[in-house]
Symmetry: C3
């Protein structure tokens, strides 16, 4: 039950909050068709996971004989969820959204959803290579099932590959929402626009950042905390950042990049078979077959006696 003070104050506060919605600023926008929401995108990704890895994440106990029936059901559900979220994304970006009789965004959403689903067999073939790369690259892996059911690197790569297909089909918003969901649960932040070859493995993964215009070859392995980022942003004559140019590095085939390394710049190329050591900061190209490491750290014997030391650092 509201007390006297609150009865007096809340209506005034609400009036002020409402008034703060008057200006034409980004935080005050409203959307005709509704934006895709976190919840919708997460539900979509869960349905998708049950289609991609039916034995691992499907709702039912399945075998090679009955899987076809469950898959049919899941694919129809996936189609509906996908079409709705893609529709909202197209509608959000559409100039013709004011024309009440326009079916353009609806038609485009249906076509994009169908085109995406048609890619799934090929996507599954590539994801299987990624699972194989994790097995080859991690001696701690006890089984493929462990990789597919619990490795964050594999989960992050799955979502990135899905988002990249939608990005390629020109769908706005949803691909980035997908990779941000992956970022949230795995700590791995791969922009949907990045291009990544086969047999990709990310170990541990927390803190990995792969920027929008990065190109990664085949058989590349990244450890946690690796950044493939922009060095600086070209600006136009009015000081505004120019969007769309290549700002992120190119990583050729068979490269390994250790924990915490940072590689920056659109002209930076890491040559085939090179190894980038941990915590290294690279802003220029590295030739093929090169090992780049930090200078050795300084060791100081401490003056503190053990006893003093153990009382507090």
């Amino acid at each position: 039950m509201p007390d006297a003070k609150e009865r007096v104050q809340l209506p005034n506060i609400i009036q002020e909050i409402v008034a703060s919605y008057k200006d034409d600023v980004p935080v005050n926008r409203f959307f005709d068709a509704g934006l895709p929401t976190d919840c919708d995108v997460i539900a979509l990704l869960q349905t998708l996971r049950a289609v991609l890895y039916a034995g691992y994440f499907g709702q039912h106990r399945m075998d090679k004989d009955n899987v076809q029936f469950h898959l049919a059901d899941s694919v129809y559900l996936l189609y509906e969820r996908l079409r709705e979220q893609i529709y909202r994304s197209f509608r959000h970006s559409c100039d013709r959204a004011d024309f009440p009789t326009c079916n353009h965004c609806q038609d485009r959403a249906e076509a994009a959803a169908i085109d995406f689903l048609a890619c799934l067999p090929e996507l599954r073939r590539r994801l299987n290579l990624d699972a194989q790369a994790a097995w080859d690259g991690d001696p701690a892996a006890k089984s493929f099932d462990e990789i597919i059911s619990s490795y964050p690197g594999f989960h992050g790569i799955t979502i990135y590959r899905v988002a990249h297909e939608l990005h390629r089909l020109g769908v706005p918003l949803v691909p980035r929402m997908m990779t941000e969901y992956a970022h949230s649960v795995t700590g791995i932040d791969i922009h949907p626009g990045a291009k990544v070859g086969d047999s990709f493995f990310i170990d541990h993964g927390t803190g990995v950042v792969v920027g929008e215009t990065t190109i990664i070859g085949s058989n590349v392995k990244l450890y946690q905390g690796v950044t493939l980022g922009a060095l600086s942003f070209p600006k136009d004559e009015r000081g505004r950042v120019i969007r769309g140019v290549k700002r992120h590095p190119t990583i050729e085939d068979d490269v390994v990049i250790y924990a915490g390394a940072t590689i920056l710049g659109g002209d930076t190329v890491i040559g085939q078979g090179s190894v980038i050591g941990g915590n290294v900061w690279v802003t220029h190209s590295v030739p093929p077959l090169t090992k780049v490491t930090l200078a050795a750290p300084k060791m100081n014997y401490q003056e503190a006696s053990l006893e003093k030391k153990l009382r507090g650092v």
Copy 2:
């Protein structure tokens, strides 16, 4: 159905677990009023997000005309959730919690909830500047809507600014639970006690740590993995850490700090307009307009032949 072995053993095990609750140690504490819980705090933050960005996260399709009705409803709900969690936090820390007729914590909770809600218009003005800073600072941003609906940096800053207001109003526990929720979903860990100026942008964000006594000016940009932390902790004559002194750095206006840089110490000041390069470790002040970078890494051409290299690192 329990088998014979379990029927014999489980009651004994339960007795031993119960016995482990007898000692007066931290893991054995009980609370009269209940602590705020994760679930409650998350629900509160979701209601708050629907008030701060009604067009993006509200439950209903809204426009500039009907938004006032939905906002009124959401603000009342928010008030109730906030008052309950603030009450639990005050009660938890209250010396008078044993007096059954005492309404002190209840009254303080109502006042704090009202004071917090009264800040929301100003908070929205500042959050709009943060959205603008993200747009200016990230060429990969396709729209403000993408920033507000899916950027983890913007989400983390929103929750930090909310938690900071509650911290400023003297509310215990809940602000930290809020920033730890943000930490969990974004990887960005900003202590509610830190002070942060306008137009703040954190790109990617995973691994960012901003300590309790940090002061950050306006127009500052941080990348993932940046630590603004303590160098060492002053201790009293009995070796216990002293709490409350300034232990974390001051970052002046217009500073950019790249991925993985670590800046430590309560006396450390990064001067206006300086740029701290990636993976740098700074424990002393840096003058204005200074660029601090790591020494160039060592490049070693590898002896391994390509063929050998490609068989394994």
Copy 3:
């Protein structure tokens, strides 16, 4: 309602997705007993948290008198959840899973669940020491209750210690799913096989990686972004990684490792009482009582005028 185009195309797409399940590759596996699922493991961990810290996370308002009744109830629930998930894990790895009359996995699961529950009093004693280490190590901690209810480091260590007990009991899959859940919500990735002494504290924690064969002594403190990892993997004569050898470092008692440091290699020992500075990369042993730091970074005064600088970095 499906449109014409979709009616034609979806059945064909489904046939192709079904066809992609024909090959005998990892992504196509099916499991007789069902794998443990994310949801099950998370529910299990929540029940466990209510047993370990009944006053903090229990469903009911409890005190020292009634806690025994609620604990009894929670332990029975925990036993059932644990037995089911352990059963699925054993069954998944069992050679005899084809024998319909075999109760072997069921019996082993019951025994392992009972053995695990019998460890809980000792586990609670050790977790209490970890809470104490967080209090001693973090001047920002306002109360033990804050540590137990919201510190990600404490949450991550709790789940690691639980997973380690199950790993020690020979349970496959579930321990790793538990630590990957912790990884997802805290950013802290400790392999269940690692061995960790008493009074362990991880501050902030995002990006911490502790590998499978790591050994950590008592009273060790890690900051965010610390990696205790493998330097390289020994391979057999056919180029396949050899699993099971010690690949990760040994950290002796009373060591502090600052943010972003990386320590690699199975023969690397960090001696008692040493301090490893932030962002350092260590691949060789460090004697006791030694402080290891990065070389000082380079400072360059920028040529840019303030005005130019402020227009864009």
